[in-house]
Amino acid sequence: MSEIGISVPNVNVRGPEVPRTIEALDPVFTVSNLSVFYGDYEAVRGVDMTIGNREITAMIGPSGCGKSTVLRCFNRMNDLIPGARAVGEILYHDENLYGDHVDPIEVRRRIGMVFQKPNPFPKSIYDNIAYGPRVNGIKGNMDEIVEEALTKAALWDEVKDKIKQNALSLSGGQQQRLCIARAIAVKPDVILMDEPCSALDPIATTKIEDLMQELTRDYTIVIVTHNMQQAARVSDRTAFFTAEVDGAGVRHGRLVEFDETSRIFTNPSDKRTEDYITGRFG
């Protein structure tokens, strides 16, 4: 994580309409002018940001400002919602994620996702982990793949004696780490997390946060969180979103500011970011 407290005069030189964004040096995703529609409703408008390789990028902002919507564009999960449509460009490394030749199935294999509510399959712990490799036709010793994924997700020691038990018998925190292990088992490049700790107690939350720090050595992580302390604790860069009402009275999610986490939390360049992180948000 970057050090905190670089002092820069708090002036809003660029104005609120042009978000201050710092480009990641080695981007995994480059988002340009992304708007997302549900039918005719433009839920998110004009997002520009980059996701750095082997970094943790946090997305924060009030409910309904489009954080999940943007996150679900990164692995094309929005394709599954009838009427959902992304306009603009997302480059994954150098490839257009929404290009004609791109297979969303392949995208999702490389870009894993962990959901808000732990969603283990109603199968054994082993079968939960083995599911991804199996459907993707990954060859190799399945026992080893399962053990490796569970070890990486810091769950192996807790479950190694009950690997054939139903995953639903695990605690909420263990279930969420199982879901992370399940995502790791297909050897993804990126892991997207949509409020992964919001259903967990503080101890389980700490475990997941520690795990994220471990995982960032091998994976790029994008996390949506409601918890600003969490964003400050774990992330390298933070994107602050909010909902704005346009001239016609329609609410759209906007990216207000995207910067190194240390700057967002000590010296935000936008008044709205500052209000939000200091808890003065209306």
Binding site: I105, N119, P120, V135, L168, A183
Partner: protein, 296 residues
Amino acid sequence: MAILSTPRSAVQLASKGRPLKEHLFRIALMASLAIALAFLAMLLLYVVEKGWPRLNSMLWENQPSIRRPETSGIQSGILGTLWIIALTAVMALPTGILAAIYLEEYADRTKWYNKLIELNISNLAAVPSIVYGILGLGIIARWLQFGFTVMTGAVTISLLVLPIVIISAREAIRAVPPSIREGSLALGATQWQTIYRQVLPASIPGIATGSILALSRAIGEAAPFLMLGAATLVRFNPEGVWSSFTVLPLQIYSFISRPQEEFSILASAAIVILLAILLLMNSVAIWLRNRYQKRW
């Protein structure tokens, strides 16, 4: 902190006559249940008592006979009913389950033709069974020239239970939480892999339960078979799908319409057999539901 030491709060927590109302409501609920059960018990007692003298092995070992009601059996009816149920299961269950998968997992609900299909299926489930008999007679027996065979009966009964199978299978599929599908798709599984490896295994108990209940409804049907012009007193067993046949409800109907008391006793005994098959199927359904019940 002081809640326990304040006597007033204890007073506020005291009941306000709610238990009495709650009690009355429970009694009303139990009385309704008791009435239903009492009727069922009376019915069962009545047929078992009346049919008792004929509830012996002659019943399933012998064929029906008009001249000797005291030794007449119902073997052709039992086997006819089993043939119809088996063939109906083979035809209606795969079709109904696949249709349910299409409607739940693939169909775009906003398209007019899918809306039309949905509406029609609910309507079809409410169509009286005799109408299916007319359809079977006109199209399957006559136009397709299947005649009055096991095949004609099974196709007609399949059409009758299909909407019920579809509706109950859809309910079972819908009960699988969307988060399971999302979890699977997010791992790079295709839609068909997700359905085949997650949705179907999770909904199989519900689908099986609904299917058995749909088939057990078909067992009791007499109207469509009457409409098809079935012979009521068939003295031989069906030998294949193109063989003619009769079913238990039709045999019961033909026995009851005869004046001799012996036939009325025989009918009661046949009803007991029919009910036994029904109860057996329903208990399999209940067992399946309890055995494989999912918690999420």
